[in-house]
């Protein structure tokens, strides 16, 4: 149930992601080595792999948030729908509004819960009613409305860490993205909240293309529609979840998915 936001056009453009011959490096250190993969729209795709495998870097290349990192260079193409993230967006902020991102540790801005939800929309002219609607719809979509509806003007820092993370998701939803990039969204929250967020992700995947980085294999098993196994900057194997978890072709993938161990 995608909230009927006033700002979103009725026709959502296709938001499948294709990565072709893509490489990335920090200075001389190549962290992604010439990979190609595709992510279907309106589903959850999990990027799996040990730390240092380049999965976060890939995620951060999708909305070009690494542009400001000194010495970061890329090569190759990433397409979202029809448009290339490098050539198609002269204004990188439009790309980032299209692809919302949620980080490992929730980071709320000083200010009220409502102000946090509306943080990405300050530039736009909105009436009070529109603001209230967007706040409610975003918080509902992030399954946080019940918890906070009575105290929207309370400081966001008074929320629990799990709630803060859902607030971050709501904040990303408020700018009406087509894609959600989640970088280990449950890494810093307690197990109960983590489960709630997983359910939320599952629900959101009906309307958004979701890419989630995780190193929790079992979480990927619960949430993913599709899994991509990255190791040492290369795609080892990719496919639908059932394929990956029951009949993965490569022994390397099987070892990692069963024992969370990787020798690459």
């Amino acid at each position: 149930m995608k909230p009927e936001l006033k700002l979103v056009s009725a026709q959502t453009p296709p938001a499948a992601i294709t990565v072709t011959d893509f490489s990335a490096a920090y200075g001389d250190v190549n962290v992604i080595k010439n990979i190609s993969l595709s992510v279907p729209e309106k589903s959850v795709t999990c990027l799996l792999g040990p730390s240092g495998s380049g999965k976060s870097t890939l995620l951060r290349s999708l909305n070009r948030i690494n542009d400001d990192v000194a010495g970061f260079t890329t090569k190759g193409d990433i397409h979202i729908g029809e448009s290339c993230v490098h050539k198609g967006f002269t204004d990188v902020t439009r790309l980032r509004a299209k692809a919302g991102m949620v980080f490992q540790t929730p980071c709320v801005f000083p200010g009220s819960i409502a102000a946090n939800v509306l943080f990405g929309l300050k530039g736009r002219k909105l009436s009070k009613i529109e603001k209230a609607q967007i706040t409610e719809q975003s918080l509902r979509a992030a399954a946080l409305w019940k918890d906070v509806s009575h105290r929207l003007s309370a400081p966001a820092s008074t929320l629990s860490v799990g709630q803060q993370q859902r607030l971050c998701i709501a904040r990303a939803l408020a700018v009406t993205p087509d894609i959600l990039l989640l970088d280990e969204p449950t890494a810093s929250v307690d197990p109960v909240s983590a489960r709630e967020i997983e359910t939320l992700i599952k629900t959101l995947s009906k309307d958004y293309t979701i890419i989630m980085v995780t190193h929790d294999v079992r979480q990927a098993g619960r949430v993913a529609d599709r899994a991509i196994f990255l190791c040492d900057g290369e795609v080892i194997e990719q496919g639908p979840r059932d394929h990956m978890f029951s009949k993965a072709a490569l022994p390397k993938t099987r070892t990692y998915l069963l024992e969370e161990f990787c020798d690459c």
Binding site: T73, T74, K75, H86, T90
Partner: protein, 306 residues
Amino acid sequence: MSFADAAAVMPPRPRARRDSFTLWITGSAWLSASLAGLILLTLAVQSAPAIRQAGGTMLSVQWLPSAGQYGIIPMVFGSLVVMAIAMTIALPVGVMAAVQLSQIKSLKTRRFVKALLEGLAGIPSIVYGLIGVSFLSVFVADIFDLQTGRVIFTAGLLLSVMILPTILTLSEDAISAVPNALTQNAAALGLYRFEIFRSAVLPSAAPHILGAGLLALGRALGETMAVMLIIGSLDRLPSPLWNVLSSGQTITSKLGREVGESAFGSVHFSALIFSALILVIITLSLTIAAQILFARRAKTIGLLHV
């Protein structure tokens, strides 16, 4: 695969748009960042006439503008002696007080005492000068039975108080930054506090304390008002040289006294600016050396934590 040639393959990363906001920030930033260089350049340009016309004679001991003699040695000597006296007093007192301060267990008390002592740095230097004129020089004259208390020693003594807070605060920071594990392990070996300090605390705090000392030296050299009021303003080397109970002159007190009397554009003015240039170069070297020491220390701490 190297990315040295990446630029050729990749579409150029779109540069930040040159909107007025970016331009304003960038422009102001570069203007601000160039001020230090601008000051140095101005002083260098203005001291050129003196270097050309008085040249090597500036390295003599005679300062007689009416006779065209601009020897800055007495001033440089005075500056160094005053600085040395101030440092000899302030360094041991400051560091020992910092050690004692770091022993205070209650964080609240420690912060309070520290803030109190930092208050010494808040007293404007002209007020220190007034204190020197009204009290300190009188005491010094009484104790040593001098005609006037406005002597090199008084200036050094007063300066030592003025640089004390710099040494004390920064040393205390350095000592407090030594990981507790180090001191606890040393204590567990049955060492006395003195031995703990010497073997565990000092080695890792020393660069920072040294940096504090260099910063304090810079401050001492550059201090003008207080020194000018109480050093006696005599453009001669004391005789004998180690007689710190005679009047003297520092670069700063010379500048404070004479810049107003010299005409802009004259050799006299230019010679004064030349001495200021030397002063600035020395203090800048001290400051930069101190910052390098601080930076190096920060790096080792970083490594320890990794």
